[in-house]
């Protein structure tokens, strides 16, 4: 067994106990990256020099008997829309190809304070807009389970990096499923915490009322460890919740006796593949056998989440991406006659197709004459969806649904119809609309060998119940033991 095979908690323990040096761990990860990255293309930037420098500093501290933190010496990857001081942060866009932040996102600061070593910045859909990582300006990340298929998105690079053991954990961001869906496609754990639990300071904004940062890990235990590190109030993010700090590792209890699991049968109907339905039914059986009570619930407005999402998210995006004007930072066109032409040419040349589509859709739903019919109405439906969940949680502790209706698809499969790709997000989007925490845990494999994720959803700020049920599910199944072949397939 190689070091890179270990979980985050295992490798952190080995470093702390001086069974291995931090340099040995880092050597192993970079040699793994050398072997696998040419096939997977998960990273946009590798930060090898900085990583080795930090490894040296941390090892020296450790040797002096100092505490180097719960993540001391552990190599971790960061999605390329999260700002890293002095390291390019591109959002996988030509617009930010040469942008180097002069500050760290709060989550990056917290990871480093806990001793983590950043090994690189991961590929993603441009400005986190997409479900396959195909809209990246730089490269296409491949799914380690079949290199002819997509890793999911938008945090596809982070999911693929953890899945193929090129990092012990990674950060992603989730606006409509961008952590959970790629976690599902790549058979890793992906956690989207409650809106407000994690500071968004330094996360390049897509849709501010929906965006949330969260971890990709190999196990639920590691997700709890990561959450302990990155959660907490931040005065630099006014939407960050000022609540008491919780030790999430205390929720790692293999027991669901007395827990009520909600099954929204009215929602899980159309478009779901046979394989996913089978895995879902198996998951219900697993939890039932472990002692949970299964309760049917209704989420009658959840099916409207996608339409609601594509109005709200694009409206917010059209506003957020107004800042890319070619003036203070980012891409500036070469030839222009006046200021307006500078704006138009810089944006036209700097943004890709999907980003333009969403900016225009958002501009449309906010424009005079359409605001009430689309934007305001979507916000009202948002209220109905929020209330829907509140009512459902009167009857259950945690809701369980599949993470995605299908397994990973082939490159280009949805090129002809953007709307078709949007439909892949049907099970993840409601969680963002309602600001709830959701986690995707490996839940089986389709007949074609591609991974399936099972998603758990809890009340706002009830990550404890969420993690306990997810942990119990993981401990009573063996899907996380299977590793990807990192080869081409059908």
């Amino acid at each position: 067994m190689s070091l890179y095979d270990l979980t985050l908690s295992e490798v952190a323990g080995k470093i702390r106990n001086k069974e291995v040096t931090i340099k040995e761990v880092l050597d192993d990860i970079y040699s793994r990256i050398e072997d696998v990255e040419p096939k997977v293309d998960a990273y946009i930037t590798l930060t090898k020099d900085l990583a080795y420098k930090r490894a040296e500093e941390l090892q020296e501290k450790l040797n002096n008997g100092e505490d180097i933190g719960v993540l001391g010496g552990v190599p971790i990857a960061i999605k390329d829309n999260i700002c890293t001081n002095g390291v390019k942060t591109t959002c996988a866009s030509k617009m930010l190809e040469n942008f180097t932040p002069i500050y760290d996102a709060t989550v990056v600061k917290k990871l480093e304070e806990a001793g983590a070593i950043i090994v690189g910045k991961t590929n993603m859909d441009e400005f986190a807009m997409g479900s396959s990582t195909e809209t990246s300006y730089f490269k296409k990340t491949k799914n380690p389970w079949n290199l002819n298929r997509v890793p999911g998105g938008s945090s596809g690079g982070s999911a693929a990096a953890v899945s193929s053991d090129m990092a012990f954990a990674a950060l992603g961001s989730d606006t409509g499923g961008s952590i959970r869906q790629p976690a599902s496609y790549c058979s890793v754990v992906g956690l989207k915490p409650t809106y407000g639990l994690i500071s968004r300071f330094g996360l390049i904004a897509f849709a501010s009322s929906l965006d949330q940062i969260g971890p990709f890990t190999k196990t639920v235990e590691d997700a709890a460890v990561m959450l302990n590190v990155i959660s907490g109030h931040d005065k630099l993010d006014t939407t960050s919740a000022d609540i008491e700090k919780v030790d999430y590792t205390k929720s790692l209890v293999n027991d669901v006796k007395g827990k009520v699991i909600g099954i929204p049968t009215d929602f899980i109907t159309e478009g779901i593949s046979e394989d996913v339905k089978q895995a879902y039914d198996n998951a219900i059986d697993t939890l039932k056998e472990a002692g949970a009570k299964i309760e049917e619930i209704k989420l009658e407005y959840a099916k409207y989440s996608l339409a609601t999402y594509y109005i709200i998210a694009t409206a917010e995006a059209s506003s957020n991406l107004g800042r890319y004007d070619g003036i203070r930072y980012g891409y500036r066109a070469k030839d222009f006659n006046d200021l307006d032409e500078l704006y138009v040419k810089s944006r036209t040349e700097g943004f890709g197709d999907e980003v333009k589509r969403r900016i225009m859709l958002g501009t449309y739903v906010l424009s005079s004459g359409y605001y009430d019919a689309y934007y305001k109405r979507a916000q009202q439906v948002r209220t109905l969806i929020v209330e829907n969940f509140k009512k459902a949680f009167e009857k259950c502790d945690v809701i369980m649904i599949p993470t995605a209706p299908n397994t990973s698809f082939k490159f280009g499969a949805h090129n002809a119809s953007p709307l078709e790709m949007y439909l892949e997000d049907i099970y993840t989007v409601p969680v963002n609309i309602a600001g709830l925490p959701g986690i995707s845990v490996p839940g089986g494999f389709g007949k074609n060998g591609m991974p399936i994720g099972i998603q758990f959803i809890a009340k706002a700020f009830d990550e404890q119940n969420l993690l306990q049920v997810a942990y119990t599910f993981e401990k009573n199944t063996s899907y996380i033991d299977k590793k990807p072949a990192i080869e081409e397939g059908k």
Partner: protein, 95 residues
């Protein structure tokens, strides 16, 4: 078509984007199909329902207006596509 070519031209202008003739056709089709899909919301009775802009019950977070050290000017300007005399430079705006 729920979204016309004229609509798309107008919103492209508002979005400060240039579209080729080919893109205009493409986006008109795609935006129409997405807007048609979004129109399913028009079947829902939303009368008297308060809109949700934001999920948390946080309003007007204030802080004291105090002078604090900020970022270094030279560092900030490193990301500027064009600069002059310690400032970001832009094409002439006023004749």
């Amino acid at each position: 078509m729920s979204v016309s070519k004229e609509d798309v031209k107008h919103i492209a202008k508002l979005s400060k984007l240039n579209l080729t003739q080919e893109e205009l056709e493409k986006y008109t089709n795609e935006l129409s199909s997405i807007v048609d899909f979004a129109n399913e919301l028009s079947n829902i009775n939303v009368e008297g329902i308060k809109p949700t802009a934001h999920i948390l019950d946080i309003k007007n977070v204030f802080r004291k207006d105090e002078v604090q050290p900020s970022y270094d000017r030279e560092e900030i300007l490193k990301n500027a596509p064009s600069k002059d005399a310690g400032c970001v430079s832009v094409p002439k705006v006023v004749e």
